[in-house]
């Protein structure tokens, strides 16, 4: 089902409604008025025809030769034509009268003794024919009335009705437009506010100005909902930070006392020393895991805002690689910049970026014989940072899944080396997305995996 604009639908409905109502009203009015006008005209005409027939009767009785004169005078006085028939022959008629106007049907009816009338259209002239038998003088009188005036009146009336209907329709549509806008505006405001909130402007609220009860309800409910959500988010963030505080102190004690034990290693028995080794090993995993978890929780809750800086990418990458290598005591992979890349500017949160590089290089170390090189290149309007390793590569079907939390790929199962926390790459993806970039896995020239991070380049970077 195609999505229809509510605004359009409302407008169409209003327009249509106005049109329907106004045309029904106009039609009914017109029909009513027409009925009345036609009836009145008919009554008047009939009465006139009776008078004329009576006159004709009298004339035929008193002075028959005056008949023609009488008919003509009637015609000049009233603009209707009169015809007189007797013994099935036309006896006399007024000068403009046409016998063709009187149909045989009327004649037949009148000859049968019935007073008859009919409204006929002859060659686009509408006439009202009245036929009256006057048995006292053995004649039938026919009077033909031109309805031109009536037609004219009705035409004008129809025109005005039509214009009125049109005007009403337009006003209706205008009204529809106004109502639509008034009704739709709160909806648009809500959707705009919702969009802002989704983007992270959590302080957005709808302004309560309207008098309309329903809109006010919507506004208040919406604001309440947002406030609750924000409270919830803040609670979650606080939870993350509360948990972090609680965990940190015991961990510090554990780490420090383990160091002390390490200092006094020589005083321990072999069993004690072996236990200490295991303790230290797992303690470092534990520490790393807690750190990763906490960082994940904070990132989920949006608790840690980003500090975005515009920096030169080449230097940023070099330093991050150096820090990453040093942090874990690994060999530092060389940073190669492809010709033509220049030194574009990127917008990143420095610490997160370093974290990303660290995690990827650490991952390469754990599962892929270490990172061979970090290569920079331009892909369209984006900077590509490729961390290539010399391992066996990542199977195509796992290339999306490796970024999920606690995912153990086939590589991890195969090798028995020290496991990571399971969150490293998940954090990488979160951080990359947070700084507006994307990450994907390809193949490296050395046959291993290429972790490619794409970052948008700031426009006024110089090449």
């Amino acid at each position: 089902m195609r999505r229809r604009s509510l605004r359009l639908r409302l407008l169409v409905t209003f327009g249509l409604g106005a049109f329907l109502l106004s045309s029904i009203f106009a039609s009914l009015t017109y029909l009513g008025v027409r009925h009345v006008l036609v009836n009145d005209q008919q009554q008047t005409d009939l009465r006139q025809s009776y008078e004329n027939a009576a006159l004709i009767r009298t004339t035929l009785y008193t002075s028959p030769p005056e008949l023609a004169k009488l008919l003509n005078s009637i015609q000049s006085a009233t603009a209707s034509n009169v015809l007189v028939q007797t013994h099935h022959q036309w006896l006399s008629k007024s000068s403009n009268a046409a016998t063709a106007d009187v149909s045989n049907a009327i004649i037949a009816s009148v000859n049968a003794g019935h007073a008859t009338d009919q409204t006929i259209d002859i060659n686009n002239r509408i006439i009202f024919v009245v036929g009256l038998p006057v048995p006292a003088v053995e004649t039938q009188v026919y009077e033909v009335f031109q309805l031109k005036n009536l037609e004219h009146t009705l035409r004008v009336l129809l025109l005005y009705m039509g214009a009125g209907a049109l005007l009403t329709t337009l006003i209706g549509m205008g009204g529809g437009l106004w109502v639509t806008r008034r009704a739709i505006r709160p909806l648009l405001e809500v959707s705009e506010a919702a969009a802002l909130i989704a983007q992270g402007e959590l302080s957005t609220r709808l302004v309560v100005t309207r008098a309309d009860e329903e809109v006010q309800q919507l506004t208040e409910s919406f604001n309440l909902m947002v406030s609750r959500l924000v409270e919830r988010l803040e609670r979650d963030a606080r939870f993350a930070s509360d948990v972090s505080h609680e965990l940190r102190s015991p961990l510090t004690t554990l780490a420090t006392t383990a160091s002390v034990l390490q200092q006094h290693r020589e005083e321990l028995s072999p069993a004690g020393q072996e236990s200490l080794n295991l303790l230290l090993a797992d303690l470092s995993i534990f520490q790393a895991l807690v750190e990763d978890l906490l960082e994940m929780a904070r990132s989920d809750a949006g608790a840690v805002p980003l500090t975005i800086e515009t920096v030169k990418s080449v230097e940023l990458v070099r330093q991050s690689v150096r820090s990453a290598a040093r942090r874990h005591g690994l060999a530092e992979p060389p940073v190669e910049v492809a010709p033509g890349t220049g030194d574009p500017l990127v917008q990143v949160d420095r610490r997160r970026f370093e974290r990303v590089m660290t995690n990827v290089i650490d991952n390469a170390h754990r599962y892929a014989n270490g990172a061979v090189a970090v290569r920079l290149d331009l892909e369209g309007s984006q900077l590509a940072i490729n961390i290539d390793d010399g391992g066996t590569g990542v199977p195509v079907d796992e290339r999306d899944q490796v970024f999920e939390r606690f995912f153990r790929g086939r590589a991890a199962h195969d090798r028995g080396i020290a496991r990571g926390t399971g969150l490293g790459l998940a954090l990488v993806r979160d951080h990359v997305l947070a700084i507006g970039g994307t990450i994907r896995i390809l193949d490296s020239p050395e046959g291993g995996a290429r972790f490619q991070i794409l970052l948008p380049v700031v426009k006024d970077g110089h090449s």
Binding site: L16, F19, L20, S23, I24, A26, S27, L28, Y30, L31, R34, V38, L46, R47, Y50, E51, A53, A54, R57, T58, L60, Y61, P64, P65, T86, H87, Q89, L91, S103, A105, I106, S109, G113, H114, A115, T116, D117, Q118, T119, I120, D121, I126, V129, V130, G131, L132, P133, V134, P135, A136, V137, E138, T139, L147, L150, E151, L154, R155, L158, M161
Partner: protein, 190 residues
């Protein structure tokens, strides 16, 4: 909802169209139930059972051969000389004219009055017949005599111009004050 809307549209359209005709016409004539002035009464109201009946009387006009020929006319009864002569003056109908009939009584011929005095019809006219050509004069006169005869002027007619009697020309050339049917019998179509 859609169907209802469509229906309403059609209804509106129909109404609108119905109104589009101006004055409604009817297929068949209709009878008027009540007629005023007692028009349907067999006798004329206000009179003592007065009625008018139409009878047929001949008028004589000139046919294609130049003879006098009768054509029937309907006149109210009793038919006065005046009314029959009035019919005569109207001349032939268009159909009759198409068939070749004419009247030698000119268009502007004014009949002032016509009365029966005994069996003689006195016809008072405005302009004298002598203004016509000789043959026309005779034919016109013949029309008058023959028509008047059948209207009751069996003893003949007398022409007066503005009240003054005039002599009338006969086919044989003589002039007489009173002319009769027999005088013009020769002009009849055999």
């Amino acid at each position: 909802m859609r169907r209802v809307r469509a229906l309403l549209l059609v209804l509106a359209g129909a109404l609108v169209l119905a109104g589009c005709t101006l004055v409604p016409t009817t297929e068949n004539p209709s009878t008027i139930p009540h007629v005023g002035f007692e028009l349907l009464s067999p006798t004329i109201p206000g009179t003592n059972n007065g009625r008018v009946v139409f009878i047929t009387r001949p008028i004589y006009i000139v046919d294609a051969t130049g003879h006098l020929s009768p054509l029937s006319r309907i006149v109210p009864s009793p038919a006065t000389l005046d009314s029959i002569l009035g019919e005569l003056l109207l001349g032939p109908t268009s159909i009759e004219r198409f068939a070749g009939y004419t009247s030698d009584l000119p268009k502007g011929f004014v009949l002032v009055g016509a009365t029966l005095k005994g069996k003689i019809g006195v016809i008072d006219i405005a302009t004298p017949l002598t203004s016509l050509a000789r043959e026309n004069q005779i034919l016109a006169l013949g029309q008058l005599v023959l028509t008047s005869y059948d209207a009751g002027a069996t003893a003949g007619i007398e022409i007066t111009v503005a009240g003054t009697p005039r002599l009338s020309l006969l086919p044989n050339g003589t002039r007489q004050l009173i002319v009769t049917r027999a005088d013009f019998a020769s002009l009849l179509n055999p």
